[in-house]
């Protein structure tokens, strides 16, 4: 084994992740290789310093309220979804009513009525086209089910 191979074992040795035979083999190498022994010494010192750093444990209140924070997000998402769906439905209904009133209003000129209807037809075609394209690409996406 080369020193490079032993470098890979160095971390596992440091973290107590080697089995007995690997540990012994590595210690034999350390005894015969001053460069690796020096590096090992430095890493051991670094590990001791790093292990001495601990993070502040928050007060119990944070853990008691933690689930509440997650639940609020879940609940608000349901609220926003219902609100958005209802908003879209109401907007579509109001739009149709407004157009219906406009088309039935004898005071409104014929040209304006035709223009409005053509505009709506154009928007509908655009919407259907984009939706169809999205569905097509989504169904052909080879990676859509790839989850790590």
């Amino acid at each position: 084994m080369t020193c490079q191979d032993h470098k890979d074992l160095m971390m596992a040795y440091l973290d107590g992740e080697l089995d007995e035979s690997q540990r012994k083999a590595f210690e034999e190498h350390l005894a015969s290789c001053p460069a690796c022994a020096q590096e090992m010494k430095e890493f051991t010192k670094l590990k001791q310093v790093t292990d001495s750093v601990t993070l502040v444990e928050p007060e119990d209140r944070l853990w008691e309220q933690y689930w509440g924070g997650v639940y609020n997000r879940i609940e608000r998402n349901i609220g926003w979804t219902l609100f958005s769906v209802a908003g879209i439905l109401l907007a579509i209904y109001a739009g149709f009513k407004a157009i219906e009133d406009l088309v039935r209003d004898p005071a409104v000129g014929l040209l304006l009525k035709i223009g409005l209807l053509v505009l709506i037809a154009g928007l509908a075609i655009l919407f259907v086209s984009i939706l169809r394209e999205r569905i097509y690409f989504w169904s052909k996406d080879r990676y859509k089910d790839v989850r790590r």
Binding site: K7, D8, L9, M10, M11, A12, D15, E17, E42, F43, L46, K47, V49, T50, D51, S52, V53, T54, L55, V56, E57, P58, L62, W63, Y66, W67, G69, V70, Y71, R73, I74, N77, R147, R148
Partner: protein, 193 residues
């Protein structure tokens, strides 16, 4: 014994309770790991709390995509780390923008600037230096240090949450520690970063 990466909590609770109640148990089991990992990655308490809770919320929304329900934590960890790293990138962009506005020169903000030294327990100069040096590691190196030193994950567990093999974990830890040592040595020598 339930390890962090292979637990049967999901299977046990899932059969008896409503999905929301079952998820509450999962959250309570993993909330400390999620919070402390996020804290190690983003460096301050408010962001860590916000991001870890957001990660649980996203996990709840996409729970049906988790194929092996007993492998919740590795899957959840991917959501959490992506959120944390994307948060750091956004913060970096925002800060660069604000520095540009302030003096008209492009700024080079450091993630380290956002790491709160008050997050270290029983502080002293040496510990502060280590915390600061950790914040200066790049994302891949910082995460292995956090998982190993702050959550005490074994190499096997780290390989599972990082979706890589044990050899990659060993090698990443080697270079992370080497880089950490370089940063600490440079600071000790009084050279500017």
């Amino acid at each position: 014994m339930n390890s962090l990466c292979d637990d049967n909590t999901v299977a046990v609770v899932g059969s008896r309770q409503s999905p929301r109640e079952a998820f509450e148990i999962i959250v309570k089991r993993h909330m400390k790991d999620a919070y402390f990992i996020a804290l190690g990655l983003v460096g301050n308490r408010e962001d860590a709390l916000e991001l870890s809770q957001e990660a649980f919320y996203r996990a709840y929304r996409h729970y049906d995509q988790l194929k092996e329900k007993g492998k919740f934590f590795p899957w959840f960890y991917q959501i959490l780390r992506n959120l944390c790293f994307s948060h750091l990138r956004k913060r970096k962009v925002r800060r660069t923008g604000s520095l540009d506005d302030a003096d008209g020169t492009p700024g080079e903000p450091q993630i380290a600037d956002c790491f709160d030294p008050g997050m270290v327990a029983e502080r002293n100069e040496a510990k502060d230096r280590v915390w600061k040096a950790i914040s200066r590691l790049d994302e891949k190196h910082r995460e292995v240090i956090i998982l190993r030193h702050f959550r005490n994950l074994s190499y096997e567990e780290m390989a599972k949450v990082l979706f890589c093999n044990r050899g990659t974990v060993t090698s990443r830890l080697y270079y992370a520690r080497k880089r950490l040592k370089e940063i600490l040595d440079r600071e000790k020598g009084g050279q500017p970063q």
